[in-house]
Amino acid sequence: MNDMTTPTTAVDPRDVGGPRQPLMRVQALKKHFPLKRSSLGFGPKSAVRAVDGVSFEIRKGETLGVVGESGCGKSTTARLLMQLIVQDSGELVFDGATVGARELPLRDFRRQTQMVFQDSYSSLNPRMTIEDSVAFGPTVHGVSSRDALNRAHDLLARVGLEPARFAGRYPHELSGGQRQRVNIARALALEPRLVILDEAVSALDKSVEAQVLNLLEDLKRDFGLTYLFISHDLHVVRYMSDRVLVMYLGQVVEVGTATQVFDAPRHPYTRALLRSMPSGDPMQRTTEAPLSGDPPNPIDPPSGCRFHTRCAFAQAVCSQTQPDFIETAAGHGAACLRWQPGSGYMPPPDFPDLAETAAEVAHV
């Protein structure tokens, strides 16, 4: 039982397909939230197209970062991955097995995938002591309550909360950073393989955030975890991620290694997003906003490329043709007509090219 606290460097016995098989493959995932019809009942039935055909994979042992503005579908994707909500269409394949099929029932899947949310307080039951919260999951999955409590104490110690001092406390008796450590311990109680961190450090102060990020890195190494790391803070995503996924209005617009996406973004949206980050240098203040306005409404997304309404390089064809996802380099791809052969898009001479962009975003 105590092997939870010893590093597991050996191959995980639950690993089915070997290191080359993605831990999670997401295929054409779609989730629309229907809206109420107008009171008269006329007009077409509309829906918030929160996730609209998203495909990607999470490789074993990596941290995949997800970035995008609010409303781009980051959190809905995370909840779909956890099967907290059910997709309209699309498929999740976890280490070769389709989630929800006979080979991998939801109950078994959920033991292997856990999530940490942004709001550390509302994600803990206020009437349960933190040791009970951490032990609750394993008890549900058939571990005796005595063993589950012992394991909870080990985990609390592992995340830096001395059990003798903290185990009997209630969530309101802890600081935000301490509560988020409890949430992390709880996520690990079922020995998951994939942990989804949905803005898990966003509500913390910077000094506390750094402590939790270090802790997450240690835990990942010691327990052989895979992370899906969602955050709006690009600095943090760059620090944490091996690969990065950029979303815009329910779709994936760019995927690549952290270096590829941050140093040589291929989608104009990614580029604008990176340039929106304050440089932190009083000598290099931003003089012009890289993007104007708020993201469009996902109820009625723009036609063609969804970014064309805010894109500095949009041409007529962008409003008519939906771009395909094109691989521009090994492991790096973007959904922009610029990279699509025969799309009819004429790259203007000032279209950000690799070398130029790398220099421009070097300060990010």
């Binding site: 102060d205 000094s207 990020l213 620090y239 944490m240 604008a272 906003a289 890289p290 993007l291 708020d294």
Partner: protein, 333 residues
């Protein structure tokens, strides 16, 4: 007009709760010159928002004790009665908040709220006030302003609501603007638009601004000077340039190090500040940061360190600024 738009001297704010006293602000000295932008930065509980709200005396009178000097354009705010205070708020000093959806009244249109503010302070007609509101919406660049005046707050997007709140704050041409984390709840792409708008309005209208934020990046974008708060005191203050390029307080240095260029490189460990912020109901007699400071000595823990002028206009409340200089991060610029 007074030389200082806002002048705080030894400002102390104490909240009383049953059985304890919370010392939220413990002797803040801050001078905001006319037309200047000062950013107050710090973590939660550092007293930055409490200081800001005290300038307009927004704390409940019943359980708050304010001592020290607090003057706005030379007028003593602590001595004001409810009526003169109401004249001050909105007319001379206005505030914008982090969450416009909470700050705006949900049952009135945004236009009605601006018109109400204008008519409260200036005896103008409904039509004139409406024309002023429309002009304000154009100034903060809300698209289709005519239509948006009749919109309710919930009908607007986050960025637009923040613009509407800025319009409301500027309705009576205040000279001092207090901004309490106005861009924290926004996406990075919208945040930079609002920061640029604030900078432009500040310049065009000659506003004096106190900008409270926990985000050093945002502070650097708008501020002339930056003051760093910790446990209810300003621990370091200087021009944005001095503070970022040559920080001298160990706390500022630690904050910057966690963010500096190259510090966040994949595979390296982040430098953290050990421990947690002090309990405001039981502050230590000495420097409040000493318990977490790598340079702390017994002298630090014994008495409150005085403010030291490390270079002209750049102050740090630390007795070990020389040692701190050696650990200051190197900025790659």
């Amino acid at each position: 007009m007074s030389e200082f738009a806002v002048e705080l001297k030894d400002l102390r704010v104490e909240f009383r709760a049953p059985g304890k006293r919370i010392e939220a602000v413990n002797g803040v000295d801050l001078q905001l010159r006319q037309g200047e932008v000062v950013a107050l930065i710090g973590e939660s509980g550092s007293g930055k928002s409490v200081t800001l709200r005290t300038v307009m005396r927004l704390h409940p009178e019943r359980n708050t004790r304010i001592t020290g000097t607090l003057a706005v354009n030379g007028k003593n705010v602590l001595g004001m009665n409810p009526r003169t205070l109401a004249d001050l708020r909105g007319k001379e000093v206005a505030m914008i908040f982090q969450e416009p959806l909470l700050a705006l009244d949900p049952v009135y249109t945004v236009g009605a709220q601006i018109i109400e503010a204008i008519r409260r302070h200036e005896g103008v007609s409904q039509a004139d006030a409406r024309a002023r509101a429309l002009a304000l919406f154009e100034k903060v660049r809300i698209p289709s302003p005519e239509r948006r005046l009749t919109a309710y707050p919930h009908e607007m997007s986050g960025g637009m609501r923040q613009r509407a709140m800025i319009a409301l704050a500027l309705a009576c041409n205040p000279k001092v603007l207090l901004a309490d984390e106005p861009t924290t709840a926004l996406d990075a792409t919208v945040q930079i638009q609002i920061l640029l708008l604030l900078r432009e309005l500040q310049r065009d209208l000659g506003l004096s601004v106190i900008f409270v934020t926990h985000d050093i990046g945002a502070a650097v974008e708008v501020a002339d000077r930056i003051a760093v708060m910790y446990a209810g005191r300003i621990v370091e203050e200087g021009t944005a340039r001095d503070l970022i390029l040559a920080p001298r307080h160990p706390y500022t240095i630690a904050l910057l190090k966690s963010r500096a260029h190259g510090a966040m490189t994949r595979g390296t460990r982040l430098e953290t500040i050990g421990g947690s912020p002090p309990d405001l109901s039981a502050l230590p007699p000495g420097c409040a940061f000493a318990a977490r400071c790598t340079l702390a000595t017994d002298a630090c823990r014994a008495a409150q360190p005085p403010a030291v002028e490390v270079s002209p206009g750049h102050h740090a409340r630390c007795i070990r600024t020389d040692a701190a200089a050696a650990i200051a991060p190197m900025m790659v610029t």
